[in-house]
């Protein structure tokens, strides 16, 4: 799990994005936030990565998880 690269595409005002960020913080798992509200480059990037226009999007290595889907995130991380 320690080697996995995690990116959370989010926006400051998006409640489910905060939930996703809090999830990783609570578990002390390192991750990178890409703010689609602050940077248009990331807004375009998340559409390219996920093929849709909704946030949050959580990317764990090659797994692209749309929405704050805890079971899918745990599965991608190998957590119980």
């Amino acid at each position: 799990m320690a080697d996995k690269k995690i990116i959370v595409y989010s926006a400051e005002w998006c409640p489910w994005c905060h939930k996703a960020i809090d999830f990783f913080k609570a578990k002390k798992i390192p991750f990178e936030v890409r703010d689609v509200g602050a940077d248009q480059k990331y807004a375009a990037e998340v559409q390219q990565v996920s093929g849709q226009t909704g946030i949050p999007v959580v990317v764990i290595d090659k797994d692209v998880i749309i929405g704050f889907n805890q079971p899918a995130i745990k599965k991608a991380l190998g957590l119980p």
Partner: protein, 307 residues
């Protein structure tokens, strides 16, 4: 704890955590089964009708209520409750992983879900131009043209929120006049970015891989095709009352759980509060009040008091 709880609360929104807080105050052993912490209030950008707080984000309000409830140390299980049954001494609740919990009373705070239009293209283009959360996804429509479908107070608030990003926001509503709280109606009528298209239904979301246009049931400016970059559906919500249905609790024609002024349902020992209940004014403050009543009446029920 294991064994039988005094009360099991199903739902983790304002009503659920308010009930957990109050059951804690009443020294009831409390289990909270939560599919998703926060609930519908998370979709509200600014809450300005919570007494004592002039303005707070829905996220912060939900977090504050959760933290307050946790002061009383309820047991919290993050799981979807899928089955509820009456037992000899109370109730059993089973979650999606098959784990079963027992309680002597039950508070249903299961909330509501976004209602869909159920028209062609809605599922195929979901999050590809068709959305239900302006707060989450409005950012993708900077300087774009978008439509909000619906005419309720929630739809009006969504439209107002979206104007911070969009160039133009159309409100497409099947009725004659939008049904917003007066303060919000004033705001929407004064906003130059918003145009209301009334007496009109959307029949289809059309586009190749992403939303390109709406198909209307009557022409707008000479055409039934209405070009937009995005659409937000806000036509109300449906109550999550499946567990109540399983228990044989009386529901109204909308599927909402019928409660009396004590938050009691038709089944002894079962209470309901928040958006799942048949309250006419769905607001967080109302749900919190119902949750307190439900908690107190569960407490009295456990004491053997009869009204």
């Amino acid at each position: 704890m294991s064994g039988t709880y005094d009360v099991a609360i199903i739902g983790g929104g304002v009503a659920g955590f308010s009930a957990a807080m109050y059951c804690g105050r009443l020294k009831l052993s409390t289990l909270l089964i939560v599919e998703s912490r926060g609930g519908t209030i998370l979709l509200t950008n600014h809450v300005t009708n919570w007494p004592g707080i002039k303005a707070i984000s829905g996220m912060d309000l939900a977090t504050n209520i959760e933290e307050h409830a946790k002061e009383y140390k309820p047991d919290i299980v993050d799981a979807k409750a899928v089955k509820a049954e009456k037992t000899k001494d109370g109730f059993s609740i089973t979650d999606a992983d098959g784990k079963t919990y027992l309680s002597r009373t039950l508070i249903l705070a299961t909330g509501s879900a976004t209602r869909k239009l159920n028209i062609p293209g809605e599922n195929e283009l979901e999050n590809k131009g068709v959305h239900s959360c302006a707060l989450c996804d409005g950012v993708f429509y900077r300087d774009k043209t978008i439509a909000v479908i619906g005419g309720s107070d929630s739809a009006v608030k969504e439209a107002l929120l979206l104007t911070q990003w969009a160039m133009k926001v159309y409100m497409i509503y099947r009725g004659e006049k939008v049904r917003a709280e007066p303060i919000n109606l004033e705001r929407v009528l004064a906003n130059e970015k918003i145009e209301i298209v009334n007496n009109t239904n959307v029949k289809e979301f059309a586009g190749n891989g992403k939303l390109e246009k709406l198909i209307l049931d009557k022409p707008y400016k000479g055409s039934n095709e209405f070009k937009v970059d995005g659409a937000f559906v806000e036509i109300g919500r449906t109550p999550n009352s499946e567990l109540a249905r399983q228990l044989g609790v009386k529901l109204n024609e909308k599927g909402e759980v019928m409660i009396n002024r004590h938050a009691e349902t038709s089944a002894p020992g079962v209470y309901a509060c928040g958006d799942v209940a048949d309250t006419i004014f769905k607001q967080a403050i109302v749900g919190a009040g119902e949750a307190v009543l439900a908690s107190y009446c569960a407490y009295e029920y456990l004491q053997g008091k009869k009204r």
